[in-house]
Amino acid sequence: MDLNSVLITIAVLAVLGCALAVILYFVSQKFKVYEDPKIAEVEAELPGANCGGCGFPGCHGLAEALAKADDLSNIGCPVGGAPVMAKIAAILGKEAGSAEPKVAVARCSASCNTRIKIAEYDGAQSCAIAATHFSAETGCAFSCLGHGDCVKACKFDAIQIDPDKGVIVDEEKCVACGACAKACPKNVIELRPKGRLVQGKNRRVWVNCVNKDKGPVAMKACKTACIGCGKCAKVCKFAAITVENNVAYIDPAKCKACGLCLNECPTHAIQATFPAPPKPKPAPVPADATSEKPSQAAKAE
């Protein structure tokens, strides 16, 4: 090859490169947007999954919000949790919020195989679509529909729908981002505090039903429905249970997870992550009750 053409090529490219570099430099100066350097520091600490679990558009969005916020208690990264938030608080020189770790809880016992169907849904497999047309396949108009919008919404693979056991939340994987609760058109899923850690297990109790129908109607539609009888509220020593609209609700802030209510519920609508305590009085515990409780608790896991 001719040496000249090589030289010309090199020269042209060099000149072009220099000219473009100069242009780029000035453009970047001209259009520079000032950003708090702390935002970059905060973002470096975040997991970088851009899951949106915090409610902001990706990790950068959260970092911006954190840098701006005066109080960190209401926002935070659900994935990184307390350790990450502590580091971020140190960077920003603010107090870290002391939010309790939470977990998604599906408050319905219905599953594909156990629900008492009165009709057969055959439309698109989406809870949102089914819910806009029909109450449910069962007589319970409040129940889990079982088409898996929560499973699709979960970015952490923490929710599964088992044909026999219904919605199962994997406590290890769940980061309590709330995407499933938002996706559920029946508002069956609630974010509840994980609860007190005892012997490597989080203790929590919840009413596994959201049916607002009157007792007999609810019972006809589902064997494990809350019938709003109020027995649990009476037995609770901490006034944590309220019955409203024919359905009981356990306030996690007041509940001490003693499990007394578990034995009281006539329909086994109250569930816990631990076995029910033995009944206080020496009355003989029915054999089936003892055998059933632990298995139900296991289900919830």
Partner: protein, 452 residues
């Protein structure tokens, strides 16, 4: 020459099984359940107490607003209770339950079959009468009729379009009404024209009903300004916008109402009810219901009192067949599947369609092969494949940009999709979400404007 709408459309099997079966009067049941919300808009407010004696035609619930409709008793008897019932979709609705005792009518109702030709009322009075008698669109949409007749200021109505298309497969109630009660329908059209103060009306009828076209064309000669317009067979010709396009060659722009192009559309069933309300003083207490379907022994057309259980209608048509997998309120394209048949016939129940088990299940879903057939058949010129994908991905802004709100939910896309994809299911979901977002934005803008 046969006219039709210009964009898209499909040709489902007609299956007009009950076309030759004359309208029979269904016996009054022992008890009726009359829902308070049988129309689009606010539910009516009950104005009778439990235990009250009512006659046929007694007002039992008053309209709960401008876009609402009065509800009248369809039987004579005692109000047993006013309570919630589970409707065909499994939702809870309020209804007035009346125990039937005899069949005594309000005296003001003219029960003779003579045609009353002299229209005594003035336009304003006609609209008031229509409102008083609780009339709603009888085609299935159940939009209160008086609202449609009240032309807003600044708008001008030029023509009335009467929908005698009955483009839904299976259904024949309008067809039978046109054959058996053509004079009353034409009088109803005349009354509607007077109410709107116009002198032009089109009655659009598809050419699969040549007998109805012939009969109405013949009789319409005595009604100046009324044109019977035969239309080419194509679904969804009965859609309001499609029908105006077919009859008047005018296309209602996106987001606008028929009145924007000078048209008011009413169903033939509504025209009939208007005649009865204005000339005979009869409230909307009964309607023609087509009970049909392949598994049914005797597909028939019945004149049914509002509040009669659907199960009674099916019983009269030969009873619930063993091979029934689905019961639909309305036609197969736009009707709603029922969860149970213990629900009342309401003002909008144009048909009760039974499908056999095999027809009831949707075929298996395959991947979208991008064949563009949904795009070709969409009567609104939309891209259903894209809209359903945007909905599934919750991309509401993009869906709005692609005119998702223009969808008329006719189901042509689902019908034609070779992969059996639930396109309309997702488009409808998206339409609901985008509509909610738009309403929220409008409310926010209004609130902001009021603040200033």
């Amino acid at each position: 020459m046969l006219k039709t709408f210009k964009i898209g459309g499909i040709h489902p099997d007609e299956n007009k099984l009950s076309a030759a079966s004359p309208i029979q009067v269904l016996p009054v049941p022992a008890e009726v359940k009359i829902p308070l919300a049988q129309h689009i808009g606010a539910p009516a407010q009950p104005c009778v107490e439990v235990g009250a004696k009512v006659k046929v035609g007694t007002l039992i619930a008053k309209a709960g607003g401008f876009v609402s409709a009065n509800v009248h008793s369809s039987v004579s008897g005692t109000v047993k209770k006013i309570e919630e019932f589970v409707d065909a979709n499994g939702m809870k609705k309020m209804a007035i339950v009346i125990t039937v005792e005899g069949d005594e009518w309000e005296e003001s109702i003219d029960r003779s079959t003579d045609i009353v030709r002299d229209i005594k009322l003035e336009p304003k009075e006609i609209i008031a009468k229509v409102s008083e008698m609780g009339l709603v669109g009888m085609g299935g949409a159940t939009f209160p009729t008086h609202v449609k007749l009240a032309v807003p200021d600044g708008q001008k109505c030029e023509a009335l379009v009467i929908n005698g298309v009955e483009c839904e497969p299976y259904l024949t109630s309008d067809h039978r009404a046109m054959l058996e009660r053509p004079e009353e329908i034409l009088m109803g059209v005349k009354i509607l024209m007077k109410a709107l103060q116009i002198d032009k009306a089109y009655i659009g009828i598809e050419n699969n009903k040549p007998d109805a076209i012939a009969k109405l064309t013949e009789l319409a000669k005595n009604y100046p300004g009324v044109t019977v317009q035969p239309l080419k067979l194509k679904y969804p010709q009965g859609g309001e916008k499609q029908l105006i396009d077919a009859c008047m060659d005018r296309q209602v722009p996106s987001g606008k109402l028929p009145i924007n192009v000078g048209a008011v559309v009413q169903n033939v069933g509504t025209a009939l009810a208007v005649y009865e309300a204005v000339q005979k003083n009869k409230p909307l207490i009964e309607r023609i219901v087509c009970v049909t379907g392949k598994p049914l022994a005797k597909p028939s057309n019945f004149l049914v009192r509002i509040g009669t259980p659907v199960s009674a209608c099916i019983e009269a048509a030969g009873g619930m067949p063993e091979d029934c997998g689905k019961v639909i309120g309305g036609g197969p394209m736009m009707g709603r599947a029922m969860m149970h048949t213990d629900v009342p016939v309401i003002k909008g129940t144009s048909g009760i369609l039974l499908m056999n088990k095999k027809e009831s299940k949707r075929p298996e879903i395959a991947n979208c092969i991008r064949c563009a057939k949904c795009v070709n058949v969409c009567p609104m010129g939309l891209e259903p494949y894209l809209l359903s994908k945007l909905s599934a991905k919750e991309m509401w802004d993009e869906a709005q940009e692609h005119n998702i709100m223009d969808c008329i939910e006719c189901g042509s896309c689902n019908f034609t999709c070779p992969s059996n994809r639930p396109l309309l299911d997702y488009v409808r979901l998206g339409k609901g979400k985008v509509g909610a977002i738009l309403r929220a934005k409008a409310a926010a803008a209004k609130a902001a404007a009021e603040k200033k």
